[in-house]
């Protein structure tokens, strides 16, 4: 269908610090698009993570809080409880959501907080130089698994979304990716749906997006999207988990 494609209003017209081919850029735009399409910019409050996206507030034109590493869902819980009429979402990486923030994530989900979570899973800690993340795949080489992740030493990649889908308090969990156009369109749909769920008071909605980190996967962007499609999504299966 013929239409115009341009930068959404809620995305500042500035260069980003993200690496070439990083999924954050795509996701920041999709979040801004969804919020603009829903006309929700003036009532949106975002909570940025600690990670490469710590400066998300430099890119989004809505109110934004920084949170301590992992605590975004605790901060979001309070903001939403105090201001239930606002659209409150967290945007978190794999360390923020599934390592240091595991308790806050599980309990916000368990309490059924009416929040939206955009969970950017790129299987590595980018900001700090490419260390193992809870979602790092077995045999994947990182700064702290130089010989490749060994389950005996470092455990298995954490399927946090599958765990959250078990909770009664959770309304919706989806896993998508931004590694090819079909999945990217699905990601946009899922993110917008997760915002709509909150606006309709439906409850805790999480979208896990498999996203590229070419720099710390030691791959080109082309190899990176291939790795998501051929390896990452074999373990972290795409689809609606709840």
């Amino acid at each position: 269908m013929a239409k115009n494609y341009k930068r959404p209003d809620s995305l500042y017209d500035v260069a980003t610090h993200y690496c070439p081919g990083c999924g954050h850029g795509i996701l920041h735009r999709m979040v801004a698009e969804a919020i603009d399409e829903l006309g929700a910019r003036e009532k949106t409050i975002a909570i940025a993570p600690v990670g490469c996206a710590v400066v998300a507030y430099d890119y989004w034109q809505f109110d934004c809080a920084e949170a301590a590493h992992g605590r975004a869902l605790a901060v979001a819980t309070a903001i939403k409880r105090c201001q239930p009429d606002k659209l409150v979402f967290t945007y978190q990486g794999d360390g923020d959501l599934a390592a240091i923030g595991t308790a806050e994530t599980i309990h916000a989900a368990n309490r059924g907080e009416n929040l939206t979570v955009v969970f950017v899973n790129n299987a590595v800690y980018g900001m700090t130089g490419g260390q193992m993340a809870p979602t790092t795949l077995l045999t994947q080489k990182t700064a702290t698994t130089p010989l490749g992740r060994d389950a005996k030493l470092a455990g298995y990649p954490l399927k946090i979304s599958e765990m959250l889908a078990l909770l009664d308090g959770v309304y919706s969990v989806e896993r998508t990716s931004v590694s090819n156009p079909k999945e990217a369109m699905n990601t946009k749909r899922a993110i917008k749906q997760a915002f709509e769920n909150q606006l309709q008071g439906k409850g805790f909605s999480l979208v896990e997006v498999l996203s590229m980190c070419p720099t710390y996967w030691y791959k080109t962007p082309q190899e990176s999207v291939k790795w998501i499609d051929e390896s990452m999504s074999q373990y972290f299966k795409l689809g609606k988990l709840k």
Binding site: N4, G21, H24, V178
Partner: protein
């Protein structure tokens, strides 16, 4: 229909090139001021305005204007 790529902002990730269904985008022979070879449209007439390049661009470098 107009399609523009902001070659100054382009980081040369090539996701648009990889996914353009018409193979209508390529790397510029010239470098931009960041020392990167940015993406350029090969033939504007061949562009169908599908928007896939825009969808996959992490830096919002692409703008497509077309009569709806």
């Amino acid at each position: 229909m107009k399609i523009k790529i902001n070659s100054k902002r382009c980081k040369g990730c090539q996701l648009c090139i990889i996914f353009c269904p018409k193979k209508n985008i390529a790397l510029d022979k010239n470098l931009n001021e960041s020392g990167i070879a940015p993406a350029v449209i090969i033939a504007e007439d061949n562009c169908t305005g599908c928007g896939i390049c825009f969808l996959m661009c992490p830096d919002c470098c692409i703008e497509i204007e077309q009569k709806i």
